[in-house]
Subunit: 341 residues, 2 copies
């Protein structure tokens, strides 16, 4: 089985975006604020949006199951207040839940959280619990910068975030550390802000003792870990100067990297440098880079091709494709076992 | 000849830091503001600080000439106003000039600029011109975020920066795009902020048409280009979606990467992915990562070892070590030729 641990619902029916635009209007003019019930998307529309996009590509490329969460760039936690984020999160998570019910063999949910800049992260817990307990979601996406590129929240090692971590430990779920749209003109969203956030989050963990406080806490750092594997010597050396244990001990029981790196040399570096136990297959398909690479004639985000062409043994490929995901997402493993997989 | 295009004076005599601390005190209490003449560092002290550090390692490792600029993390453009930055830049640049006069075969200067958040970059031009014309410097360091991690300046593609670019073109000098200390708690200076800035700067160039306005402008992106080479497929794909030319046409006549990547797999990726004409040897020695790698028994920042062990041919190694630096820093080439090199 091939599990893609990083998929977003980037192809939701247009009605969703139209509702969101009305929500923006409602921030300035409460008279224009839409009701949740103004949004109506049929099962047929959901089905079509998936069957003609993600599911079609999954079948073509040969992956089986996607951990599916709301579109990352649309989370836009910086817009409006907690109430705005809360309503929007509930809508987006419910759509992913419905997709997981329509295609139970191919999609299982991960939750976006109703984060809002300057608002206590513990306000996210009711939505988190609903998604895990009622929707059967197996993970969450945690935005280390709900300000959208202004980085006004404390680092992930700060106690401010601990209420989220306590719930993650209680439910035994990992978080993918994933920012949303940048509203800082310096940072292109998918070309700079995403990668910077990955590197930043890793370094926040490196300089702290967060995993002493939460030995079973698990973060998936997406986009191949940002700049981290490429600069693995730098990070090993910085940990050494900071008198931290070796990274294997200090961070690699808790931090995992996905394979959203869109060319062969990048995947080759990732699999050469990072222990195979810490690499989870992912594509973030129909995401930042949707085109076909003229150098290969294949989709940039068809990351399975790079894994297949890497030096990994069959046993190691199993870990990357399935074994590690079952370990990092225990609720995913349980859901699969309950179905006899 | 082996040219290290990225060296900072990280080992300046203690008196420099002591003077800077007094300067900080003077920001709050003008009565404590030190005079420039309060700082006195003898040639003997400069000589010792270099001979026992950079020059010793250059001889041990086998590099010949370093493009030498003030310590990057000490630039701290976010502290005080333009006047503070201006005085500090003049002091630091003069010390690098004196080092270049004491060791003319081994050091040649690159200038820090007296940038200050919110202040027009054209205010930096007198210091830039002094360094080029009087000190014989061959390049500058340009900080894309003088706020120190708050990213309040416009992107490098903004016309705000054009006065600097006009002078760079006039004097035919490149800029190394290099931030300074982060005062944002989210970003570790050398583990996150430096790498993020490299990625950010590259993407600012990618989304813009800056090099149409300045076809001969040249940026060196340090630290191996941040996350860029590792995610080269992503950047190629993003350029494609943005309807930009191929990166080779769009950016690689103007953007160059140094080799400050502190492990073999990283250098192997860099040299596999980026055309050899765009790679300049550098170590940033006695910088962010000063220790010995237990996996190799060698200094992390002894980057020449990685180049030697890479797949580059002798001809390509010449380009990385010398040829490209002469092309990107024409004033360096002229200075060498004037000495018969």
């Amino acid at each position: 089985m091939i599990i893609d641990c990083h998929g977003h619902y980037t192809t939701a029916p247009k009605a969703l975006e139209e509702w969101r635009i009305k929500q923006f209007a409602g921030i300035k003019d409460p008279a224009q604020k839409p009701k949740v019930s103004d949004l109506s998307i049929t099962d047929a529309a959901l089905r079509e949006s998936i069957e003609t996009n993600q599911l079609k590509l999954m079948k073509q490329r040969g992956s089986d199951l996607t951990v599916f969460s709301p579109r990352a760039s649309f989370m836009a936690h910086h817009i409006g207040d907690f109430d705005v984020s809360s309503t929007w999160s509930a809508i987006c998570n419910e759509l992913c839940y419905r997709v997981s019910q329509l295609f139970p063999d191919h999609f299982i949910g991960a939750a976006m959280l109703p984060q809002s800049p300057g608002v206590d992260p513990k306000t996210c817990i009711p939505e988190l619990e609903k998604c895990i307990k009622q929707y059967g979601f197996v993970g969450i996406n945690l935005n280390p910068d709900p300000s959208g590129g202004h980085w006004t929240s404390p680092p992930l090692s700060d106690r401010n975030w601990y209420p989220i971590y306590e719930k993650m430990v209680e439910y035994d779920i990992p978080a993918m550390v994933h920012v949303s749209t940048s509203c800082n003109a310096c940072f292109h969203t998918t070309g700079a802000h995403y990668l910077n956030a990955d590197t930043t989050a890793f370094m926040q963990c490196l300089t702290s003792d967060l995993f002493k406080d939460f030995p079973s806490l698990r973060f998936v750092i997406p986009h191949g870990g940002g700049a981290v594997p490429y600069h693995w010597g730098r990070f090993r050396g910085l940990a050494q100067e900071l008198k931290k244990p070796l990274l294997k001990e200090h961070l690699l029981k808790n931090i995992f990297f996905d394979t959203c790196v869109y060319h062969q040399p990048g995947i080759d570096l990732l699999t050469r440098v990072i222990p195979v136990e810490n690499i989870l297959f992912a594509s973030e398909m129909i995401g930042a880079v949707r085109g076909i690479d003229p150098e290969t004639g294949q989709y940039y985000d068809d990351t399975k091709r790079y894994i297949e062409a890497s030096a990994l043994s069959a046993e190691d490929r199993y870990k990357v494709y399935e074994g590690n995901a079952r370990r990092v997402f225990p609720r995913l493993d349980q859901a699969l076992k309950a179905k006899g997989h």
